[in-house]
Amino acid sequence: MGLGTYDFALAIGGEAGQGIATPGDILARIIVRRGLNLSTYNAYQSIVRGGHIFLTMRISDAEVENHGDKLDLLLCLNQDTMDRHQRLMGPGSRIVYNSDSVTPGSHDNGADLCGLPVGELTESRNRLVQNTVGMGAIASLMGIDFSVLEESLTLRFQRRGQEMVDENVRVARAGYDYSEEHFKPFDQSPPDGGKPLAVWSGNDALAMGAAAAGCKFYAAYPMSPASGVLHWMAANARNLGIMVRQVEDEIGVANMVVGAAQAGTRSMCATSGGGFALMTEAVGAAAMMEIPVVFINVMRAGPSTGVPTKTEQGDLWQVLGASQGDFERIIVAPSDSLDAFNTMPEVFNLTDKYQCPAIVISDLYISEGRFSVDPDLINMHPGIDRGALITEPSDTDGYLRYKDTESGISPRALSGLEGYVHLVATDEHDEDSTLISDEFTNPHKRRQMVEKRARKFDNILGDIQGPVLEGSPDADVTLIGWGSTKGIIDEAAGSLNASGVSTSCLHIKWMVPFHGDEIMTILSKAKRTIIVENNFSGQFARYLRSETGFAADGHIRKYDGEPFMPHHIVDGVNAQIAGNTDKYVPYQEITV
C-alpha cells in the first residue's frame, strides 16, 4: 500500500456548479487507461450550487485504497479554494489557478504558484473554460503528453459535436502550452502501469455485485450517499432485466422488496441511516416470515439528518438493533470497493440459504469514492446458490412452509406453484403458518418456532471467512478496524512498521455472525490493541466487548465527518505509545 515508485495526489476545489466532476472524470480515465491505480475522495456539501467542493485524486503505480496524506497539486477554480487550502501546499507542490479571478494569499508555504491568464489565453467568456485550461496545465505539469489529453477530451465531448471537441482541445492546448513555457513540471511523470484498469465507485460496485448475484428487483427512495446504487441500477436495468422502482418512501421500498422476494426474485434496496430507520420494521418482517432480502445502509454522519454529505461509521448499533424482537440477521461491512462487489453474491447466497434478512453496511467513503479496479478481478458470473428453494409444482399435499427441520431451514416454495399453496405471516405462526398469536397462543409452539429460526444460524460461521491477522503476531501494536477504514489502517501500519513501530492489523468484516472465538484467539496474544473507528462512542469497541468481553488498550476515533487519513492513525498510535492518551481524536487539517 502506497509503496509504489509513483505516488501523486492532486485536488480540484471550487463551488458546486463549477463543473469539477468533468476534469475529475477525464483525469481519472487518463490514469486508469495508463494502468495506474486511483483513489478519489470528493468532499462536498448538500447544495446544488455554491458551497465548497474539494475533489482529491491519488494516483500510484501501487494499489491505493485511500486518498493519502499529502497534496502535490491544487487546481483552484475559485478564490475560496485558494484561501482555504493554499497554506496546505508545501515546497515542491504546485497551485494552478485562473489569475484573472483568483489571487494567491499570504499563506505561502513554498508552493509554486501557477497562475493562468485564462481570458487572454482563450478569448472565451464561457465560465467553464478555466476547467479545461486548468486540465491542460495539469497535464503539462504532471508530464502527461498532450495527445493523451486530446484523446480523452475527444472521447468525452464527441457526443456533443465536433465543434465542442475542437473548442475544448483548443483551450486545453492553450493551458498546456502556457504551462510548458512558464512553469516547472514535476520531476516524475506518471509511469506506464501496464494493463489498463477500470474505475468505479463503491456504490457502482455494490449495485454490480447485486446484479451479478441475480438481483432482479431493486427499489429505492433517493438518499445521499446511497443514491449511486439507484442510479447504477436504473441505468442498467433494461439491459439486465432488473426491475427498478423509485418508491414513495423507504417504508414502501423495504416492504415492496420483501414482497418481491417472497414471490421469488432476489431483491434488494439501499439507503442511508435515516431511510434505514424507516425500513426497520420490514427487516423484522422478513425475519419472521423467513424471506431472504438484502438491505444496504450507506452510512453518513448522523444522528437524524446529520451531515448528509459526510462519512461516519455511526450506524452499527442501529443495524444490530434494527426492528423489534429477538431474531437472526446477517450484517456485513465490506472493506473496500472490490470487497463490496464480492460481498454481494456471497450475501445473496447466504440470505437464500438461511432465509433471513441481511444488511450490508457501507459508508460515504467507500460508496462515493471512486477507485481503480483490475477488470479481470470483477467476476460478473459468480456462483448462485438459492438454497432450499422449491421451483417445480407438485401433486402431493401437506406442504409445511415452516417445517421444523433439524437445521431449522424449511424448504421454501416459489409463490404460484401448484401443490405448495401457503401463507407467510408476521404474526407468530405454526409449522403450517397457522397464527398462534391471537386466539391460540401456545407457549410450547412459540418456543419451538423461536428455536427453529435461531437454529438456522448454528453453523453459519462455517460458511464465511473469519478475520485474519495481517502482520506479525509479535507486533508491538495491533490495529483493529472494521468496514471502510481497512485501506487507511493498512497504509498507516505500513508507515509505522517503516518507522520502527512494529504493527499488525486485524480487520473485521462480518458483524453478524461474529467470529468471537477466532478474534479472541488473535487478540489474547496481542501486546497493545488499538481500535480505529469513524465515530464518537466507539460503536465497534463496545460491540466487541459485548460479544467477547475484550476491552482494547486504546482507541482512535474520528467523528468530524471527514474520513481518516493514514497519518491521523500514525499520530494516534505514536501518541498512545508515548503515553499521552488512550483515546486519540485526530485534527482534520483540510477544512471543507
Binding site: L197, A198, V199, D204, M208, A212, G214, K216, F217, A219, N236, A237, L240, G241, M243, V247, E248, D249, G252, V253, A254, N255, M256, V257, V258, G259, A260, Q262, A263, G264, T265, R266, S267, E281, A282, A285, M289, V373, P375, M380, H381, I384, L414, S415, G416, L417, E418, G419, V421, H422, L423, V424, A425, T426, D432, S433, T434, L435, D438, E439
Partner: protein, 294 residues
C-alpha cells in the same frame, strides 16, 4: 386468466383456520364474496396471492385457500406491489381495514393508485379500530364517541373513493358486505380489471361501532347500477362518492382503461415473471458494463 377445466366451488377456497371474527362481523360477508368471486372466475388456489396488513380484517389470508402474506400494519399494498412486480402472472388480491389502508398505509394507497398496479384492493371499512378495542379510524364520522374521542370526534373523515379517483385508480367501487352477491360481482369485475381496483366495502363492526351498523347501511345503500351512472366521468364519480347521508351509493363509481404499471414497465415486456427468470447475467451485457468503466 384462469387456466382450469375443473370448476372449483367457493368452499374449495376455505382456508386452514376458521375466522376469529365476532359473530355478526361484516368481514364474514367479504370473505364469502371473495371465495365466491374467485371460484366463479374459475381460478385455482395457487393462481392467487392474498396479501393483507394487520387488523381484524387483515386476518383474512389465513381463512382463504390461496397463497397468502399476512404482513405489517399498513404495508399490504407495498408488499403486494412487490409480489405483483416479481410475478405479474399471479392474481394479487389485497385485503385489510380502513385504519390499515387509509391511516397508517395512506401513503402507499395514494401511490399505488398513481402507479395503477394491477391489484384488487378490498378494504373492509368499519369506520373504527376494532382489534385495539374501539378508537376512531380515518373514516370515523364527525362527532363519533369512542375510547380515544370520549367527547366526540372533531376530525373530518377521509373519502377513500374521491382520493383513489384523484390519485389515478382505474376501478373505484363501493360495496356493503351485507350484500354478498353484489360485493362478489364488484370483486369479480375488480379482478378482471387491468389496473388498480379499489373496492371500499362497508363492513360493520358489531362490537365497537354502534353507529354504522348493518341496519344503518341496509336503510341507506343504493346501487349506482340503478341510477344510470356514467363510470367514465371522474366528476360525476366524485359527486356520487361525496354523498353520505340518507343515501349511500354502492357499485362502480369510476373506471378507466389507463395502462397498468405492468404494461408500461419495459422489463416485463418479454421473458415472463421476474421470479422465473435466469439469475445469471448475459455474458455480452456483463462485458459491456466492464468496458464502459475503462
Amino acid at each position: 386468466m384462469a387456466t382450469t377445466e375443473i370448476n372449483l366451488r367457493p368452499a374449495d377456497f376455505k382456508g386452514k383456520s376458521n375466522p376469529d371474527w365476532c359473530p355478526g362481523c361484516g368481514d364474514f360477508g367479504v370473505l364469502n364474496a371473495i371465495q365466491r368471486a374467485v371460484a366463479e372466475l374459475g381460478f385455482r388456489p395457487h393462481e392467487i396471492m392474498t396479501v393483507s396488513g394487520i387488523g381484524c380484517s387483515s386476518n383474512l389470508p389465513g381463512y382463504i385457500n390461496t397463497y397468502g402474506m399476512h404482513t405489517l400494519h399498513g404495508r399490504s399494498l407495498a408488499m403486494a406491489t412487490g409480489v405483483k412486480m416479481a410475478n405479474h402472472e399471479m392474481n394479487v388480491i389485497v385485503t385489510g381495514g380502513d385504519g390499515d389502508g387509509y391511516g397508517i398505509g395512506g401513503n402507499h394507497f395514494t401511490h399505488t393508485a398513481r402507479r395503477n398496479t394491477d391489484l384488487t384492493y378490498i378494504v373492509m371499512n368499519n369506520q373504527i379500530y376494532g382489534l385495539t378495542t374501539g378508537q376512531i379510524s380515518p373514516t370515523s364520522s364527525l362527532g363519533m364517541t369512542t375510547k380515544s374521542t370520549p367527547f366526540g370526534n372533531v376530525e373530518q373523515p377521509v373519502n377513500p373513493l374521491t382520493s383513489a379517483i384523484m390519485n389515478g385508480a382505474t376501478y373505484v367501487a363501493r360495496a356493503y358486505s351485507g350484500d354478498v352477491r353484489h360485493l362478489s360481482e364488484l370483486i369479480q369485475k375488480g379482478i378482471q380489471h387491468k389496473g388498480f381496483s379499489i373496492i371500499d366495502c362497508f363492513s360493520p363492526c358489531v362490537t365497537f361501532n354502534l353507529t354504522n351498523t348493518h341496519d344503518f347501511f341496509k336503510e341507506r345503500v343504493k346501487k349506482l347500477e340503478d341510477e344510470e351512472h356514467d363510470t367514465s366521468s371522474w366528476e360525476l364519480a366524485c359527486e356520487k362518492a361525496m354523498v353520505f347521508g340518507d343515501t349511500i351509493y354502492t357499485g362502480v363509481f369510476f373506471e378507466s382503461d389507463r395502462a397498468a404499471l405492468e404494461d408500461v414497465e419495459p422489463v416485463l415486456k418479454e421473458g415472463g415473471p421476474l421470479s422465473r427468470r435466469e439469475l445469471g447475467l448475459d455474458k455480452d451485457e456483463a462485458q459491456k458494463i466492464i468496458s464502459r468503466m475503462m
